[in-house]
């Protein structure tokens, strides 16, 4: 079973605030202007607002849209709540993203009728415990690939069941890019070799498919028959990277403003690394210009680090060296990758050991009192200085 919450962030806000119900709303970054739409409500979608649209564009297509800043802690809490409900009914539940989960229900449901009953019970529990405005679409099928495809069919509040005997006819009624794992580019490449439907994909020789797509060709062939052997797993894998990005309130060429923003992001990334016990061997910086073109550059460290200042210094060095200085900057992002478990190297130098010791004390404070307990003096904004929208 696959459960996908409908217009998730917007539904949660409409549940919390009844004056937003039935209205087109768009959930944005912390600052509403100069941001993007993270989620549009069902009413806003009907008027043409799409996820990841800029707020400027959203206002153009839907002038009556209400822009509402996101509240990540609220969404995390509700996600935790509905996953608790899922675990109460399923043999095993895998959180796929903040608003999607896979449930293994083979034993719990015994047959497809039992699965439908289970789906309705779960839906009722979500309504009672999270709120009537938080709805979900449910897909029931023999594997994860098909269950996800099913849940995408009817929105909002849908329930779609595809039994094994109907898999091929169901797939043939879908478009290639409807399947999770076939993106826009893959669809274009498939179209280029004359494949537009799943039926054509099934008939296409596997040999030619693997020649074109390498090992991904095998997966495409299996997907064309609706086959997927991946199990539902309840374990949370270690992250491959940790990053934060920040849309500035105004496009800027001011180096001071960019530095401040990047340092703040670096400290947040470093704190998450230390909290999870990781060190990073690589840092990647991303700069998005006013015209939405991007610059991405990365650098490896000789010694792995979890220090905010080291991340910042490296990111700024490569970012400032290679960026196009003629273009105002809209967004800055930093990602630490090549993560390994550890605490970083022990320095021989007294000054560095002192900084490490200070960092440990600040981490203890942050653990006890929260992330706002300390700040670098250079990050204290002077009055009337615009801050930024960070994610």
């Amino acid at each position: 079973m696959h459960i996908d919450m409908n217009s998730y962030f917007a539904s949660v806000e409409q549940q919390a605030n009844p004056f937003l119900r039935g209205k087109p709303i768009g959930i944005t970054g912390k600052h509403k202007e100069h941001s993007i739409i993270a989620t549009a409500s069902i009413e806003a979608r009907r008027k043409g607002v799409k996820t990841a649209m800029s707020t400027y564009e959203a206002k153009r297509v839907c002038p009556s849209i209400i822009l509402y800043p996101c509240d990540p802690k609220k969404y995390s809490y509700i996600t935790h709540q509905f996953n608790k409900i899922f675990r109460a009914y399923a043999d095993c539940a895998e959180q796929f993203s903040i608003d999607e989960s896979f449930l293994e229900i083979t034993k719990a449901a015994t047959d497809y009728f039992g699965a439908v009953c289970l789906a309705q019970t779960i839906r009722q529990r979500i309504k009672e415990e999270c709120g009537e405005y938080i709805t979900c679409s449910i897909g029931i099928a023999q594997n994860k690939l098909m269950a996800k495809l099913c849940s995408e069919q009817v929105k909002p509040n849908g329930l779609t069941v595809v039994q094994p005997k109907n898999v091929l006819s169901f797939l043939d009624s879908c478009q290639l890019k409807d399947v999770c794992g076939i993106g826009h580019r893959t669809e274009e490449r498939l179209n280029a070799i004359g494949i537009y439907t799943f039926e054509q994909l099934r008939k296409f020789p596997l040999e030619n498919l693997t020649r074109e797509f390498k090992s991904y060709g095998y997966w495409l062939n299996e997907a064309s028959y609706g086959r997927d052997n991946s199990p539902v797993v309840d374990t949370i894998e270690d992250p491959k990277s940790i990053g934060h990005s920040c849309t500035l309130t105004e496009n800027t060429e001011d180096e001071k403003e960019m530095k401040r923003c990047l340092l703040e992001l670096s400290d947040r990334v470093a704190w998450r690394l230390r909290k999870k016990g990781f060190v990073a061997r690589c840092v990647r910086v991303c700069i998005r210009y006013f015209d939405f073109t991007e610059f991405v550059q990365q650098r490896k460290f000789i010694e792995p680090t979890n220090n905010g200042l080291t991340l910042f210094q490296t990111a700024w060095q490569i970012g400032n060296k290679w960026r196009d200085k003629a273009k105002p900057v809209r967004l800055l992002g930093i990602t630490a990758s090549n993560l390994t478990k550890g605490k970083g190297y022990q320095s021989l130098f007294k000054k560095e050991r002192k900084i490490r010791s200070l960092q440990n004390s600040l981490d203890n404070l942050q653990n006890r009192y929260g992330s706002k307990v300390w700040s670098r003096a250079s990050l204290l904004y002077p009055p009337n200085t615009p801050s930024a929208t960070c994610s």
Binding site: K74, Y369, G370
Partner: protein, 82 residues
């Protein structure tokens, strides 16, 4: 009108089945009767667990913050219809 605030407020609550239900708030020398508790969620601030109540009367949405350690209530968000 949508505002983010951090104003200390007085709240009358009822305790029912291990739940706290805000009934009336006093803010800016005015009383507001709570008609609905729409959503309750928690969030961590360091080791502390903070409770947030999304409540509404006929014309306003209020987000209330309760610090259970000090029993302090704050009005943190206000949305007025119209």
């Amino acid at each position: 009108m949508h505002e983010f605030l951090h104003d200390p407020i007085d709240v009358i609550v009822s305790f029912c089945q291990n739940r706290v239900i805000p009934k009336r708030i006093r803010w800016n020398e005015r009383n507001y009767e709570i008609a609905n508790v729409n959503l309750v969620h928690t969030a961590r601030e360091g080791k502390k667990r903070i409770l947030y109540f999304s409540v509404s009367d006929k014309t306003n949405f209020f987000k209330l913050k309760l610090d259970p350690e000090y029993l302090e209530w704050h009005l943190v968000e206000l949305y007025s219809n119209g």
